[in-house]
Symmetry: C2
Subunit: 272 residues, 2 copies
């Protein structure tokens, strides 16, 4: 690989803004890597849509990111990782990594009972991908999946500390409370914002797995394997694109990323 | 107007499936009119997106409906009626009607106190369109708007009869309870499914206005004015298109429309 390529940015995408939690983790673990991020805020959410549509949207985004000369692509969206990654990664000549495999590896490490829970969107949970990947890691692990479609809109309504939030957690997670599940994958980028409430409900003995950290470490390994690590020491940059509402996105980005974002650009991703 | 044109179908669109409640009302009031419906299930919801994006999506849908030779277009989505109708109706040579004006007219008739409430998506409520239209009808009417973003996902989760639903209604509507509002516009096609619960919470003395009936009557008037009423007596047909998940849509359509839907067709609306 040429040095030019190693100095190229990493492309990251998500259905909206949740994927910035993965960007934050990449910036912590790989501070010298530049990032180009795309959030599909015009078509969010993905989690209630079909596999074909998620593949179609993801393909357009990958085509867009390629125009930015990225050296690798991180699918920071659980739904797109679950439904589109396998399909698309063979179509392009760039290394791609999603959040599902890293999340599954972390859960397999964390569980003692061999019983792992997965919460996510309807599409992610219905895909059965975590069960498939976990059984490849360790065939003895059993997976209980539960789709929690209201968690994302409630987080976006900032209702995390409202009493109704705990009732909604009870609505979705009561069956997990009585189970032997001792590791729970937070299989949607919004869910780490409910970490405190979920721990309070399920007890401190359960390990909550946020795939963001493992994804950053997986990216590091992937770049090293392929000789693509950026070895130039400098201040990394993040270039952010969305398909709608750039100002709202900029505000959120500045609240969670460790660098100042001056501008978020709009792009009509349908054209890619 | 030619007879051919009068026999053409009426185009109806919505961000998803809620607009079928408007189709049902059109079928009741104008049983001889054929319908071509488009639901944008790949990009739903619209209510949390920008005006520009809602106009862009609506314009694509109008272009698609034109290819079906419709004689008029009903914007069955409150958000698109609030944000895109004014912009688009001057661009095409077809009569267009939305749900906002009919809803506002019904609310103006219903109120005695002159205080009208409007609930809807963030985009609809922020647009201030109901206040604008109502003040044109009667400058003495004052409007209290309240965005209720969680109502749609909760209805889609079938939580209407769950105790959490009443708490969410309290979360959004407690300020209306103490007000003099005596007519409340259900400014989103999903909300009529919460009619019973909202009445229970706000009391029977408030009139809940569902714009669907008034929209069908408004369409009738519009078609008559323009000599476009279908005078051929026959069994009307409905031709349904979506941008994603046609099977789920078909099931819903068969549960609410008064005729059998054999097939819902997929269309890539981005191409229009």
């Amino acid at each position: 690989m040429t040095e030019t390529k190693a100095n190229a940015p990493v492309g990251v995408f998500d259905s909206g803004l949740g994927g910035l939690t993965v960007v934050r983790e990449i910036m912590r673990q790989l501070p010298e890597e530049d990032i180009v991020y795309f959030g599909d805020t015009a078509r969010v959410p993905y989690g209630s849509k079909s596999k074909d549509t998620i593949i179609y949207f993801s393909r357009q985004i990958v085509h867009f990111l390629r125009t930015k000369d990225v050296k690798a692509i991180v699918v920071a969206c659980n739904t797109a990782s679950a439904l589109a990654l396998e399909e698309i990664k063979d179509e392009i000549d760039l290394p791609m990594i999603g959040v599902v495999k890293p999340g599954a590896l972390a859960a397999a490490k964390a569980t003692q009972t061999g019983k792992v829970g997965v919460i996510g969107t309807q599409a992610t949970v219905s895909s059965g991908i975590y069960a498939k990947v976990l059984s490849e890691i360790d065939p003895k692990i059993t997976v209980t999946g539960k789709a929690c479609p209201l968690f994302v809109p409630m987080v976006e309504e900032q209702m995390m500390d409202h009493p109704v939030m705990m009732e909604m957690i009870d609505y979705y997670l009561s069956s997990l409370r009585q189970s032997e599940v001792d590791a729970l994958v937070l299989g949607c980028t919004h869910y780490p914002l409910l970490r405190k409430q979920i721990h309070q409900y399920l007890g401190e003995s359960i390990t909550l797995v946020n795939p963001a950290y493992e994804t950053a470490m997986g990216l590091k390994e992937l770049l090293e394997e392929q000789g693509l690590r950026n070895t130039q020491k400098k201040q990394a940059a993040a270039d952010l694109y969305v398909s709608d509402l750039p100002d709202r996105f900029k505000e959120f980005a500045n609240s969670i990323l460790p660098l100042d974002i001056d501008r978020v650009k709009m792009v009509n991703v349908e054209q890619y």
